[in-house]
């Protein structure tokens, strides 16, 4: 199926890296760069979420909360308490990971789909905290004045500079995911998805693995959140609501559950769609809902894979038709 891409994994990574280096040299329109930066941030979240959904077969509707935790922790610690930004990103990832552990482990031990509701409930609680703890978070009007990231004298204060920063991390996320997927751990996750009972009898501690991949996906989201905070220098609870959780889930599904490159594709496609619909923002909800539903009903393997399979089937059907008419010889 996409074994072609799998075997040439390093080639595609190389092309990807080259594209990242070259694009800002040719694309001078700031708006396009900003959109691509958003795609980059979403890619980090979606790639992580895909590990949970596509491989461990679990659903989370709470990744907006982890994204938001990364953003707020970085924002508050670096602005109010003058922590150094780079270590803070790391601290935020660890903290978010720990919280994810406490939410995830009890839910994942249970048979059935409890993680869905636990993450949804959790993300609503987090959102309420973001709004109501306004002394710390700035409340509904948001939290301004977040410093840009910098390395020595180089300050990441422009969209172009942030492009390189963000996409370096997107690249690393994809790279790490690909490593994970094609390894012992990746196989164990796929095994859990294939048959949890059998996986257990082969020595895989399924509860531990499911929890670890959930924590990992939360940490990816936290990283993206921190980068977002330092990029835009202003955050508000509106960016971290239930609708964002639905958006990233839709990106995973559209790109194809279980495909790392697919996550990048899904993130790109739907971020662009969002931008197009930005003119009439009220169409966002119905658009995402419709896409999610249609893809799941008709192309559950994802848009690319689904269309590819459809094309293959048409080709084979045409071949059979021709053989029937001409007769095999």
């Amino acid at each position: 199926m996409f074994a072609f891409i799998k075997r040439r994994k390093n080639l595609f990574l190389l092309i990807f890296a080259l594209a990242i280096i070259l694009i800002p040299l040719f694309v001078k329109n700031k708006y396009y760069i900003i959109v691509m930066n958003v795609i980059g941030l979403n890619t980090i979240v979606v790639v992580g979420l895909n590990l949970l959904i596509g491989f461990a077969g679990q659903i989370s509707l709470g990744h907006a909360a982890f994204y938001g935790m990364g953003a707020y922790l970085s924002a508050i610690l670096t602005t109010t308490y003058s922590f150094p930004p780079w270590p803070t990103i790391f601290i935020a990832m660890i903290a978010t990971g720990m919280v994810a552990y406490f939410v995830g482990y009890p839910s994942l031990k249970l048979r059935g789909h409890y993680l869905v509701m636990a993450t949804l409930g959790f993300s609503i609680i987090v959102h309420i905290f973001m709004v109501e703890l306004d002394k710390i978070t700035g409340g509904p009007s948001g939290f301004p004045g977040i410093p840009h990231l910098s390395i020595g004298k180089l300050i990441f204060d422009s969209d172009f500079k942030n492009f390189y920063l963000i996409w370096t991390f997107s690249f690393l996320s994809i790279f790490a995911s690909l490593n994970l997927v094609n390894s012992r751990v990746g196989r164990a996750l796929k095994a859990i998805h294939g048959s949890e009972v059998a996986a257990n009898t082969l020595g895989i501690d399924t509860d531990k693995y499911k929890t670890k991949v959930f924590v990992l996906s939360a940490m990816f989201a936290s990283l993206a959140g921190s980068l977002y905070a330092h990029y835009i220098t202003f955050i508000s609870p509106r960016s971290f609501d239930f609708y964002y959780s639905i958006q990233v889930v839709t990106m995973v599904i559209a790109g194809g559950m279980g495909s790392v490159w697919g996550s990048f594709f899904g993130s790109g496609l739907l971020t662009v769609l969002s931008e197009i619909l930005h003119v009439a923002e009220k169409y966002n909800i119905i658009a995402y809902g419709a896409i999610l539903t249609l893809v799941l009903v008709f192309l559950p393997e994802g848009i690319l894979v689904g269309l590819y399979n459809l094309y293959q089937r048409r080709k084979i059907a045409a071949l059979i038709e021709r053989e029937r008419d001409d007769g095999p010889f």
Binding site: I53, G57, Q58, I59, L61, V103, P106, S107, K109, L110, R111, G112, H113, Y114, V116, M117, A118, L120, G121, F122, I124, I125, I128, F129, E132, E196, V197, N200, T206, D207, F242, I246, V249, T250, I253, K282, Y283, N284, I285, I286, A287, Y288, G289, A290, I291, L292, T293, L294, L296, V297, F298, L299, P300
Partner: protein
């Protein structure tokens, strides 16, 4: 207001909203028992109950009782449509995919509601006026009494349905063991269809009867339904008595929490309770090992 009067008030409003949670929880349970999925469209069943009431009764001036039935019927029809179309047509029947589909449908309906009615809250008139009655120091509106009465009526009807009609027993049989049920001639597909219709009805009724008190909008259903789900878990997922007990307890706890501890975090209470239940007693108050370890 005296302290004990305040408590009475909190308890009354808690029981009121708790009744709605109970209805929604029952809706979740019915579909879960029949199909094994978590049905996110339950959120929209609740929203649409209220919004259709607004359309029929407030905008089109159709009389109350007729509007009530029309609204409920519309949502029931929608439930049937959803089961017949996207759920039936889905290429993959994996539970994770079906749950995702309900998430997608829910978003689609919500998006449509936003485009149809706009983002604002809309009012629905109370069923029989606003004259306050005082019982044990609490101010009770006629609408509260309607909510209690209708909920009790619905619960009793459901009890009768599930225990004294053939179809109801068939549904219970399907929930216990699908294969055995189909082997004795029960059409599992019809049971699934029926479960969607009933959940639609329950959600709609819940949305309709609470709307005069809380007003309604394109996304009121989300909070109500999610808390209804929390109530279902609290009472023991899949257990109908649990749904009712869970709903009422959750409503009261939430109301007391908002009144006595903090009203800013009111919405968070229900979800705190949900997480606590999942952590410490996942089978809920009345459940029997439904949420077992793998």
């Amino acid at each position: 207001m005296e302290f004990h009067e305040q408590i009475s008030q909190y308890i009354v409003s808690g029981l009121t909203i708790g009744a709605i949670y109970a209805l929604v929880a029952l809706g979740f349970n019915i579909i879960h028992n029949a199909t094994g999925i978590v049905n996110f469209v339950q959120c929209e069943f609740v929203t649409l109950g209220g919004m259709m009431m607004y359309t029929f009764h407030t905008l089109l001036k159709i009389p109350l009782l007729l509007s009530f039935f029309l609204s409920t019927a519309t949502v029931v029809f929608l439930g049937v449509l959803i089961e017949r179309a996207p759920i039936r047509m889905a290429k993959s029947k994996a539970i994770i995919v079906l749950i995702f589909i309900t998430i997608g449908i829910s978003s689609t309906i919500r998006g449509t509601a936003l485009l149809t009615w706009g983002p604002d809250n809309v009012p629905i008139p109370s069923f029989s006026g606003e004259k306050v009655i005082r019982i044990l120091g609490a101010a009770i509106l006629p609408q509260h009494l309607w909510i209690f009465a209708i909920t009790i009526g619905v619960v009793i009807s459901l009890q009768y349905f599930f225990h004294h009609t053939l179809i109801g027993k068939a549904m219970r049989a399907t929930a216990v063991n699908r294969r055995a049920a189909s082997l004795v001639g029960i059409s599992v597909n019809q049971m699934v269809l029926l479960s969607f219709a009933m959940s639609g009805g329950l959600g709609a009724v819940g949305g309709i009867i609470i709307a005069p008190i809380t007003t309604t909008s394109y996304d009121t259903g989300i909070m109500l339904a999610l808390k209804g789900f929390a109530a279902a878990i609290l009472g023991g997922y899949g257990n109908s008595t649990g749904a009712i007990v869970g709903g009422l307890i959750l409503g009261v706890l939430e109301s007391l929490g908002a009144g006595l501890i903090s009203s800013k975090f009111k919405n968070a209470f229900a979800f705190f309770i949900l997480l606590l239940v999942l952590f410490f007693k996942p089978t809920g108050l009345l459940g029997h090992g439904e949420a077992e370890r793998v």
